[in-house]
């Protein structure tokens, strides 16, 4: 099962509305086509920038307990908004952005598409793929390509599996759990009861929680593995209190990425305690409740485009496309290796509605960013927490710092020197 399409000129429909309304009112409309003039402050060489969006969408696993699943097009819609924003800006520079995309449940089909794009001149890819497929894509496309990982939070991709042509816009699991641990420390909720699901992703999230606890002074006082296969929608009130019985704890932390059981721990724990982690108070890249720092505008644009709320994957894909556009604007070039080297340099910064400038870590290709801590109806906090100190930037207190990553060689090697820059 796969779907593909091409996407461009999205603002026309939005402008048509106000234009027609004005015409109907017989108002003189003097805004003609934009004349950028000859004495241009900004250069006006025509540039075409094509970006491919790939996402692996397996058949949805049977939802045991998650009543509200993530939208199927999460990620893609964010990339589309990034294209819209970049075209609105790009028309002043005669830069044109275009998105091609493919969703598939077959990894080989996705790889074939990437190769076809590459031979057709598309070297910029935004990907939402399993770690193994991302590694295969990275190796197959080589240093001519620049890939943005906007869908995988695997820590190994940032520490040991060094893919020099891949930048990560989605936060790593370690960034999320560090953000949570900093906040729990600020509340002095030190004793955690950890419940972990039975999926490999859940184990990975639990490992990240263990690491975060150690870094920020949390204690995992008890650990339980969730292996039940009941549908909790009917039995949570009976099962959960018994399951969470034991010694005292300040907070229940959950590692349940699919949403198998986590939502049903809230209000059902044996002790009256808050719940955090993958459910309850959750560290996220993005959520509808983020509205500070101009974010209300981004949320509004996204909802007008997609008819739903913007998710973390949408934000990561949007940030990937916006990174490309920012680099193209500054360099007036489109070659992937040049863009990569610029993005990894300290000359790059991105305004992305998080109250700080964002940049890429030169040792892992990870986009530095504050992490929102949300419950479904409000923003609770944002990490890094006030008072967390770091010799360079407190943003690097989230996730794996330079000495903890083995990938710096892969990223410090410039691709533009060796890559095809014709």
């Amino acid at each position: 099962m796969s779907s593909r399409s091409s996407y461009r000129c999205p603002y026309i429909a939005r402008y048509l509305g106000p234009l027609l309304a004005l015409a109907a009112l017989h108002l003189p409309l003097q805004a003609g086509p934009i004349d950028t003039g000859t004495d241009n402050t900004v250069s006006s060489a025509d540039l075409e920038v094509r970006i491919g969006y790939l996402s692996y969408r397996p058949a949805t696993p049977p939802a045991l307990s998650n009543v509200l699943p993530e939208p199927r097009d999460s990620g893609l819609r964010g990339a589309e908004l990034g294209i819209n924003d970049s075209n609105t800006s790009g028309r002043f520079l005669k830069h044109h952005y275009q998105l091609d995309h493919l969703n598939s449940d077959d990894p080989d089909t996705l790889l074939q598409q990437a190769l076809a794009w590459q031979s057709g001149g598309i070297h910029l890819i935004v990907a939402d793929l399993p770690a193994s497929e991302l590694a295969r894509l990275s190796k197959t496309l080589g240093t001519d390509a620049l890939i943005f990982n906007a869908g995988n939070s695997d820590d190994a991709l940032r520490t040991t599996q060094c893919l020099g042509n891949v930048l990560h816009t989605l936060p790593s699991r370690a960034m999320l759990t560090d953000a949570l641990a900093q906040w729990l420390a600020s509340r002095q909720w030190r004793d955690w009861l950890l419940i972990t699901g039975n999926q490999p992703e859940d184990q990975a999230y639990a490992r990240a929680l263990h690491r975060a606890a150690k870094r920020f002074g949390g204690r995992i006082v008890d650990e339980k593995a969730w292996s039940f296969d009941t549908d909790l929608r009917r039995t949570a009130q009976k099962e959960m209190p018994l399951f969470t019985q034991g010694g005292d704890y300040d907070v229940v932390v959950l590692a349940d990425e699919r949403g198998d059981f986590g939502e049903y721990v809230l209000y059902n724990s044996w002790l009256p305690r808050p719940v955090a982690g993958t459910q309850g108070l959750a560290p996220v890249a993005w959520h509808r409740v983020v509205e500070q720092w101009g974010a209300a505008q981004l949320q509004g644009r996204f909802e007008a485009l997609a008819g739903r709320w913007m998710q973390s994957r949408d934000y990561a894909a949007w940030a990937a496309v916006r990174s490309v556009a920012e680099a193209v604007t500054q360099l007036q070039r489109t070659e992937a290796p040049l863009l990569r080297d610029y993005l990894l340099s300290d000359r790059f910064s991105l305004a992305a509605f998080k109250g700080r400038k964002l940049s890429y870590r030169p040792w892992s290709g990870q986009l530095r960013q504050p992490i929102a801590l949300v419950h479904p109806r409000a923003l609770v906090s944002q990490s890094p927490q006030e008072g967390i100190l770091h010799p360079v930037t407190d943003l690097d207190s989230l996730g794996f710092d330079a000495p903890e990553s083995r990938c710096s060689t892969a990223y410090t090697m410039t691709n533009s020197a060796t890559g095809d820059t014709k």
Partner: protein, 325 residues
């Protein structure tokens, strides 16, 4: 008897004097973004003397040329309201386009140039006929607006496109664009119109642009001991008309930078309130006022001494200021 009468006369004349000075005191209008109100501050007593309900999410505010009316961007009401300052009643709502945030009134006192943040447009409204004269496509999230003293140029900043857009007011066409650092927020012309100062909130810089060449001739950076550079986010700018100072509000750094407008040297940082946003002078520029969003107050600065002399509690999230003589 005579003594009594003269005492009475004296009392009456003192009373009259009091009324007179009360009538002459300058009044600061402050838009409270999250209260849907305006606070009025008496500049003699430095106290809030009144509060009025206005449209939703009031942000940019500006006086008409004769000071009789106040224009208010009611962003979430999608309109620019006109307040009669004699009665403090809203007397008209102008068709501003959606989500008006900032605007500027042309020196002709007739055309209002409004940034429509959600629609990537600048709308030109005739304040007399209440008609939309033109809409001009600009970059993503238009925000800052300025008009040159001779009325030739209107400048708009777009926060996500990171440009200054140069609009020719005789044709209402976009003539040129100047790339600046991330998230340009505010623009201000100097008195003779030769230079344009533009703040970049996320970039953390202020660009000084030569209006003749439309090129950046200088870029200011700021450095406050103990404040991380990411938190230094310039927003509001005011230039003193004697050409001596530029004041730059630094947002979440909670300080205002005092800049020598000739040498571009930063002379001092004044600690004001939380998330300092826009700035305004009183009539003789002896006082500078700042709207501090997070702490919900207005700081009053003595411009001669470069000292903060008072903080005045206003509504929730004060955003912009206008001073009525």
């Amino acid at each position: 008897m005579i003594l009594k009468r003269s005492l009475l006369t004296l009392a009456v004349s003192m009373l009259a004097l009091n009324f007179q000075s009360a009538a002459q005191a300058e009044v600061v209008y402050v838009s409270n973004e999250k209260d849907d109100t305006l606070s009025l501050i008496d500049l003699d007593s430095l106290e809030v003397i009144d509060t009025f309900d206005v449209g939703q999410r009031p942000r940019g505010i500006t006086l008409s040329g004769d000071g009789s009316k106040l224009y208010i961007c009611a962003s979430d009401s999608d309109t620019v309201q006109v307040m009669d300052l004699a009665t403090h009643k809203i007397v008209a709502s102008l068709p501003s386009g959606e989500d008006p945030e900032q605007f500027v009134l042309h020196p002709n006192d007739q055309l209002l140039y409004v940034a429509n943040e959600d629609d990537a447009l600048v709308t030109v409204v005739d304040v007399n006929s209440h008609e939309v004269i033109a809409q001009i496509d600009v970059g993503v999230e238009p925000e800052g607006m300025a008009v040159s003293p001779d009325g030739k140029w209107v400048i708009n900043t777009s926060e996500t496109t990171n440009m200054l857009h140069w609009i020719d007011t005789s044709t209402h066409e976009l003539i040129d664009n100047t790339l600046v650092d991330q998230r340009p927020r505010h623009v201000e012309f100097n008195k003779d119109g030769s230079l344009l100062w533009a703040s970049s909130e996320i970039g953390g810089t202020v660009a000084v642009v030569d209006v003749g060449t439309r090129q950046i001739i200088h870029k200011l950076n700021f450095d406050i001991r103990g404040v991380h550079r990411d938190k230094i986010q310039p927003v509001g700018i005011k230039l003193s008309s004697d050409g001596r100072y530029a004041f730059v509000a630094l947002g979440p750094a909670n300080h205002i930078a005092v800049v020598d407008a000739k040498t571009y040297e930063v002379l001092d940082y004044l600690l004001v309130g939380g998330r300092v946003w826009h700035l305004e002078f009183n009539g003789d520029e002896s006082r500078l006022l700042s709207a501090n969003g997070v702490s919900g107050d207005v700081s009053v600065i003595d411009v001669d001494k470069l000292k903060v002399i008072k903080s005045i509690k206003v509504g929730r999230y004060p955003w912009g200021l206008a001073v009525k003589p």
